[in-house]
Symmetry: C2
Subunit: 385 residues, 2 copies
């Protein structure tokens, strides 16, 4: 199995890009990643995307992007794993290099959501749930997560306001991220008074969707060893699933697929939670941030909010999370999110995270969550000098 390095990253600003099409933002991200690496071609392209068929009437998306990039003839695949599509594309791109089947791969994610009516987007996002036993009951995706948060508050005795630090932290972090959708500091009062969406989840618990594309350029690490430069490698990569319907789980408040994929990624990388310098987690909702921290072993079960209340999640804390704004403030273009997360870890390991730089970061983790925790992809990225 060949070791895989990330030698290029490309990120487009997340937002409502009325003047650009799906293919345009995708191509922008790929060009940026190639330019960052100083390369012009690849053998294949793995495109994480969830909604192009439904919202943009475009499947065969891998082919489209390869074509519009001018990457004539290369292999192309669209990878879908709900909101974890982006990191799933990275995991499969990693396999292409690790197996020796390809020597250079674009692993990317793209989502175009702003062109569609909000009701259509809500219905499209519900396709990540069980169509026959969840979505058919007219529950939305935020509705499912509200049930999870409500149960969590009941089980462990937390109050809603205890989750405020998750939101405040990421809004502060996003201030310095040019790709972020929201650049707006918030206070605890803002959080407590935000409009209720699906009780107990309010507006400031919820990540904004948007248009966005992000790309990574992967190559075998062995070709880079020669010149003694520091390299960034994928030290651990793993995924796992849980039941697609939340109501079929033994515990709705425990992300078993997060725990399992993290366990495998830690083992592959030869590290544990104590070795992780920063954690780009999937804070689609503030409850999801808490559950991810717990499942990956950063805090005890039921103690997620404590990490926020005690300042451990800040850029200077014990386990900095969502250092570039996370889903909540950087934004959540669903099929692209997992690639943004990994690219942000690379920024930190390169020392290019500006005002949010985690000093001396050498090992970062990214966790991308599909469905209500049903498909989870975990990557550990390492800087090797």
């Amino acid at each position: 199995m060949r070791e895989v390095a990330i030698i290029g990253i490309g990120l487009t600003p997340i937002g409502e890009q009325w003047d650009k099409s799906l293919r345009q933002i995708a191509v922008e991200a790929v060009i940026a990643a190639l330019k960052d690496a100083g390369r012009e071609s690849v053998d294949g392209i793995f495109v994480g995307n969830m909604l192009s068929g439904i919202l943009s009437h475009q499947e065969n998306l891998g082919t489209l992007i390869a074509d519009w990039m001018g990457l004539h003839g290369v292999e192309a695949f669209k990878i879908e794993a709900a909101c974890a599509s982006g990191a799933a594309a990275v995991r499969l791109g990693w396999m292409a290099i690790a197996s020796g089947a390809m020597d250079a791969v674009i692993a990317m994610g793209v989502e175009k959501m702003a062109d569609s009516k909000m009701a259509d987007v809500t219905a499209a996002l519900a396709t990540a749930a069980d169509a026959d036993y969840e979505a058919d009951e007219d529950i939305s995706f935020v509705g499912i997560n509200a049930l999870i948060m409500r149960r969590y508050l009941y089980e462990y005795g937390w109050k809603h306001t205890d989750f405020a630090p998750f939101s405040i932290n990421v809004h502060a972090n996003a201030m310095h991220n040019p790709s972020a959708r929201l650049h707006e500091r918030i206070t605890e009062t803002d959080y407590n008074q935000a409009t209720m969406i699906a009780d107990p989840i309010n507006l400031l618990d919820s990540s904004p969707t948007g248009d966005g594309a992000a790309a990574l350029l992967l190559v075998p690490a062995e070709t880079l060893r020669k010149n003694g430069q520091p390299i960034i490698t994928i030290a651990g990569t793993a995924s796992a699933t849980d039941t697609i319907a939340t109501h079929n789980r033994r515990e709705a408040t425990w992300l078993s697929a997060a725990a399992e994929s993290a366990r495998k990624a830690y083992a592959q990388a030869g590290v544990g939670p104590q070795d992780i310098d920063l954690f780009e987690l999937h804070d689609a909702f503030s409850i999801t941030a808490a559950l991810s921290l717990e499942a990956c072993g950063f805090v005890e079960k039921g103690q997620g909010p404590r990490a926020g209340l005690e300042g451990e999640i800040l850029p200077i804390g014990r386990i900095p999370i969502a250092t570039r704004g996370g889903l909540k403030a950087r934004g959540h273009p669903v099929g692209a999110t997992g690639v943004y997360q990994i690219a942000e870890v690379v920024q930190q390991l390169r020392g290019e995270a500006g005002d949010n730089q985690v000093p001396g970061a050498k090992i970062g983790m990214a966790q991308n969550i599909g469905g209500s925790g049903s498909n989870i992809q975990t990557h550990i990225i390492k800087r090797i000098v």
Copy 2:
């Protein structure tokens, strides 16, 4: 790179399965493949599918199928490459085993089409074309292929009736295939008098869609070598793309991605066209069969119909094609088709093709075509004694 063997196949009958849901036919195929191999679990599942989001309001499809199979916690991905989604799932499943990331994989395809209105299916299939520059002009997928066939007749001087042998052959082959959608012999007169769909493509040039699911069980070949039994391996696997829009190609009547992916697959397997005992090609339309034969080196450019007229494509011919009925008569459940093709090669190599058995078949090829030739996956399967 580890060698990969196919140790189980599972096929469901293609048709209008009103009494079964998407998940049910998928699970049927997986159970059949596991049972065929005498196994109960895998590490991951790769699901080829094109239309579940649009037609069944279900994404996160890999997770759903893993869940309903009771394969708790395994990795799961949906792979989309238009009508080549099925073989694309096999190619990526192959990478998972070849890289050492997984030791047992289900690579499958599933499509549920019969529950939807025909106009919705037609619109959904057009998402394989360029949404902004082809589908937006209201051209259907059969329309694009009709333009290709019309140009081909003009370029090379063939008449429409010269394509009759492709259709007659596969209808005869499907008579003995219990999974086939159509069990009906046709004559040259039937072909010539069939209802016109999009001139010059008539009803008997066109493959029927349908509900269907097919699955393969892949494992490392090395674990099977010990007992001296014959094994079936993936000797060559490759894919390539062309422009997504047909009008952007230098030659609309040449499948460059078929030629390129076949070239790579031949090289990997160490064989050439002369070594292939049977070829499960992608006869979505009879013109596509001709173009595939040409691009893969079985006949000269522009001479595809000759292989039919001279009987070379029959089960007893020089290069038997679509031996179990092909897309035209076995049926074309789009995202599942590529897996049916490879499973049918396995049936031939095992000597389990019944009345359509190609005597002494040792090496078979399958080629799965997405879009109007824009994403093409080629596999060479070999029996090793």
